[in-house]
């Protein structure tokens, strides 16, 4: 059975293209793609690449909304291409652009280096409260203690929240919602004792204090991580810490 033959309808994709070798700046190009009901935007892009224009570049891998590669603006909203289905979009052309607020490397591929550095800056690993050797076995952690941070550990690093956050748009140095979700993932873990270190890392103007609680980050998050909670909760923590840190022994420095 030839799949293409059974597809009579087509859908128009308007894609923001940018080829650094030849283009001064990005511009839109339209493609007519054979349409089927169960098709995701990612599949439409793959169809374009395989049959219409092999030079179109975009990131993807898992196809199941878990690897976090395929974030892009679809009809102006940050979405994962692999779990955005054409049948759920309003009729008419579908606009696809690179994730907002990030520099475009090419077509739908954006720069991710800064984001990775932000993740690395918040000590994203357990700093044990009570160190244990492997021979001593696992830590105990009740389901309630797990629930305290579990949702923050669901972040797939897709950066959609960054594309939605206007304050990140204004200030690219802002640590941003996703990294703060990761911070809270560790700060809320009963096994961890590194809270103070992480709080110190985000006390600056580019840390939590660039967030104005817009809250859209949580609305666009495909994994219901609620990064807005992570960052605003830590605004409270950081605010109290602002006064408490004078009382600490090491306040001198």
């Amino acid at each position: 059975m030839s799949e293409a033959a059974t597809l009579t309808k087509t859908v128009e994709l308007r894609i923001l293209r940018y080829l650094p070798a030849s283009d001064e700046s990005p511009s839109f190009r339209s493609f007519q793609v054979p349409y089927s009901d169960d098709m995701s935007v990612l599949q439409a892009l793959q169809t374009i690449k395989d049959t219409l224009d092999a030079t179109l570049s975009f990131r993807w891998s898992c196809r199941m909304a878990v690897c976090g590669s395929c974030g892009m603006m679809i009809n102006g909203e940050p979405r994962l291409a692999c779990n955005t289905f054409l049948r759920n979009l309003p009729p008419g052309p579908v606009t696809v652009e690179a994730l907002k607020n990030f520099p475009i490397e090419r077509d739908l591929v954006v720069s991710v280096g800064d984001f990775v550095k932000k993740i690395e800056s918040i000590y994203p690993y357990i700093i044990p409260k009570e160190p244990k050797t492997v021979a001593q076995g696992t830590y105990l952690q009740t389901p309630a203690q797990l629930a305290a941070y579990e949702s923050f550990s669901d972040c797939i690093n897709c950066m959609l929240c960054y594309a939605a956050c206007p304050q990140f748009g204004e200030n690219p140095d802002f640590i941003g919602p996703g990294a703060m979700a990761l911070l809270q993932r560790y700060n809320g873990d009963s096994r961890d004792g590194g809270q103070q270190k992480r709080l110190d890392a985000i006390a600056g103007e580019d840390g939590v204090w660039s967030c104005t609680a817009v809250g859209i980050c949580s609305e666009v998050c495909p994994k219901h991580v609620d990064p807005a909670n992570a960052i605003n909760q830590n605004k409270t923590n950081s605010a109290f810490d602002f006064f408490l840190h004078y009382l600490r022994k090491d306040a001198a420095q």
């Binding site: 059974t6 080829l19 650094p20 070798a21 030849s22 169960d38 690449k49 395989d50 049959t51 224009d53 092999a54 030079t55 570049s57 975009f58 990131r59 993807w60 891998s61 898992c62 196809r63 199941m64 909304a65 878990v66 690897c67 976090g68 590669s69 779990n83 289905f85 490397e105 090419r106 077509d107 991710v112 990775v116 993740i119 690395e120 994203p124 690993y125 357990i126 044990p128 244990k132 492997v134 021979a135 076995g137 696992t138 830590y139 105990l140 952690q141 009740t142 389901p143 203690q145 797990l146 941070y149 550990s153 669901d154 797939i156 690093n157 990761l182 560790y186 873990d189 096994r191 961890d192």
Partner: protein, 595 residues
């Protein structure tokens, strides 16, 4: 060309590569570890694993049980000394991951919870809801940022290994963002590049699972072992092939045909019971379940859909609350991708390619035949999966053998003489030139996308759940034709930055090599064992001739040559591989004779 000198080079930053990198960094913090990945590490395909990882933890379970389940499951094609070592190391690796923060699901008292998995006698699968691989990968990646000696090369694509003076000394990388090449010299190299499932059409694998590392080693003369053993997972989404984890069945899901009948009872997996029973019915091993589907399809008891015939995975009786707690990702997948709420309706499923049992052969210390070259994870064949992998053994494999690989690579690096930087750079330049030549070749207008489709189709046809000699031969011929046509490929995109057209073509080159190794190994194995099932007169297992590992040897410009190597049998003599009531009867008989 940039030239970076490291002590240990690790290619691949999935579960195996990250575990190896951490082990290397811990073994000797003064050594520089270069960690290369063609995607950001947390995008690696380990992220997609759902069900969990095996490690004996319950008091009434034993290492022997895990050993036996693994060896039976692998239809006695396992290296038994390696399996023994493996099962003894699983639990400590799970504990280590717990210490690093992996959010394993817990019992009310705060202890680790385990779930049942196919082919396992006793529950021993550690899980983090149904996002186990995701949590493991992110835990490992985040933990790896703690070690200053790990220098990452994210979004660098490996185009070739550097083998000099008879030992591995580095690799040639293409930076995806710039299109420029970098040479890395190192005193030891670990391959951890994952599987090759994308050579098949319907598969559960991510786009990056293209067998690169296997092909790289293959082309440097390392034979690929047991490549005919490709695992079909019985419960996948028709069309996309996306996976519904075995944990669905571990939690008590049913498989029913179009009449709502639990058909597995007709295939030696009974008796039927409403509650899940280990090693019976839905908790039989994957090869058996996929084979049963095939028979149902032949009998006309499946349902036809545009994406092929399907049976149903029925989870309704588990109830909404349990589904949301234990299988949230599955609910999300079914709802978002198929518009089905598993609490209300059964999910249509069919088998799809899932896992490559074979790969780069290594010894128990993960060493490959090339000195200084190690391999771990799905790209390797260390010998624990045999002819059929048991679900949840492969995640644990990543840590047990990733850890060993890291340690061994450090040991080798410390004992090895200095690298030959000059010669390495020359090799890298030659490899780069070759890759560039592909990008810029005039070709004859052949599109690699078309070749890829044809490859996936012919692999599905010839090397599917059941295999026939003539069809396998057709597949071999087709692959040879595709390789010829590959020389005529014209790449549309000639630019440097983020040229994914070019990279996809390079990957296709790897895939064709790996596919050939699979098809030829399959054709030559004239018996049925584990995931390799023939219906052309070789329906039975033939221990006399084929209790042996196949080895596919690369031949430039020709199809691979297949030879065989011995299988290490220590304490489990090949016996009948039975599940369900029959399996239990066999086992009690065995226990009785032991007394």
């Amino acid at each position: 060309m940039e030239h970076f000198e490291a002590d240990v080079l690790i290619i691949g930053a999935g579960g195996a590569g990250l575990r190896a990198a951490i082990a290397a960094a811990e073994a000797d913090p003064s050594l520089t570890v270069a960690l290369v990945s063609k995607v950001l590490p947390m995008r690696s395909h380990t992220v997609a694993a759902e069900g969990g990882a095996a490690g004996v933890t319950q008091a009434h379970d034993t290492l022997d049980n895990h050993f036996n389940d693994t060896v039976h499951g692998g239809d006695w094609l396992c290296e038994q000394d390696v399996v023994e070592f493996f099962v003894s190391r699983c639990t400590q690796e799970m504990v280590q991951l717990e210490h690093w923060g992996c959010p394993w699901s817990r019992k009310p008292d705060g202890n680790i919870n385990v779930r049942a998995f196919g082919g396992m006698k006793i529950e021993r699968t550690w899980f983090a809801a149904d996002r186990s691989g995701f949590h493991i990968l992110h835990t490992l990646f985040q933990t790896s940022t703690k070690y200053p000696s790990i220098k990452r090369f994210d979004e660098y694509f490996c185009v070739d290994l550097i083998v000099e003076d008879g030992r591995a000394q580095g690799a040639t990388l293409l930076s995806l963002s710039t299109g420029e090449f970098t040479a890395i010299s190192a005193r030891s190299v670990v391959l951890a590049t994952g599987g090759a499932g994308r050579v098949f059409r319907q598969n559960t694998n991510g786009g990056i699972v293209t067998g690169d590392g296997m092909a790289l080693a293959f082309r440097h003369g390392v034979p690929l072992r047991d490549m005919e053993f490709v695992q079909y997972h019985p419960t996948c989404m028709p069309g996309t092939g996306l996976l519904f984890t075995e944990a669905c069945r571990g939690e008590g899901g049913y498989l029913v045909n179009k009449d709502g009948y639990r058909y597995l009872q007709d295939y030696g997996l009974g008796p039927v019971s409403p509650e899940p029973r280990n090693k019976a019915m839905e908790l039989g091993p994957r090869d058996r379940l996929s084979q049963a589907f095939w028979h149902e399809e032949r009998k006309g008891r499946t349902v036809e859909t545009p994406a092929g015939s399907v049976v149903y995975l029925d989870l309704r009786h588990l109830g909404k609350a349990k589904l949301k707690e234990r299988l949230p990702l599955i609910c999300e997948l079914a709802e978002e991708f198929m518009g089905i709420d598993p609490a209300d309706a059964p999910i249509p499923v069919r088998p799809a390619v899932h896992y490559t049992m074979g790969g780069i052969p290594t010894d128990i210390r993960t060493a490959t035949p090339i000195p200084g070259l190690y391999a771990a994870g799905e790209c390797s064949s260390v010998g624990i999966h045999g002819a059929n992998r048991l679900g949840s053994n492969s995640l644990t494999e990543l840590f047990v053998f990733g850890h060993v690989a890291g340690d061994e690579a450090v040991k080798f690096a410390k004992g090895a003489p200095a690298v030959n930087a000059g010669r390495n750079l020359e090799q890298a330049k030659a490899s780069a030139a070759k890759a560039l030549a592909l990008r810029d070749q005039k070709g004859a207008g052949e599109r690699h996308a078309d070749l890829r489709k044809e490859m996936a189709l012919t692999m599905e046809k010839g090397c599917g759940i059941y295999r026939i000699g003539s069809e396998m031969q057709e597949t071999c011929d087709k692959l040879a034709e595709l390789k010829r046509r590959f020389a005529n490929v014209t790449i549309e995109d000639r630019s440097a930055a983020w040229n994914t057209d070019w990279v996809a073509a390079l990957e296709l080159g790897y895939q064709l090599d790996v596919a050939e190794a699979m098809a030829h190994s399959a054709l030559e194995r004239r018996e049925s064992r584990g995931a390799h099932q023939r219906i052309d007169g070789f329906e039975a297992r033939d221990d006399e001739h084929f209790l042996a590992h196949s080895l596919a040897h690369y031949r430039e410009g020709a199809s691979p040559e297949i030879t065989y190597g011995p299988v290490k049998i220590t304490k489990s003599k090949p016996g009948e591989r039975a599940y369900g009531a029959l399996g239990e009867a066999l086992e009690s008989k065995k226990e009785a004779t032991h007394v």
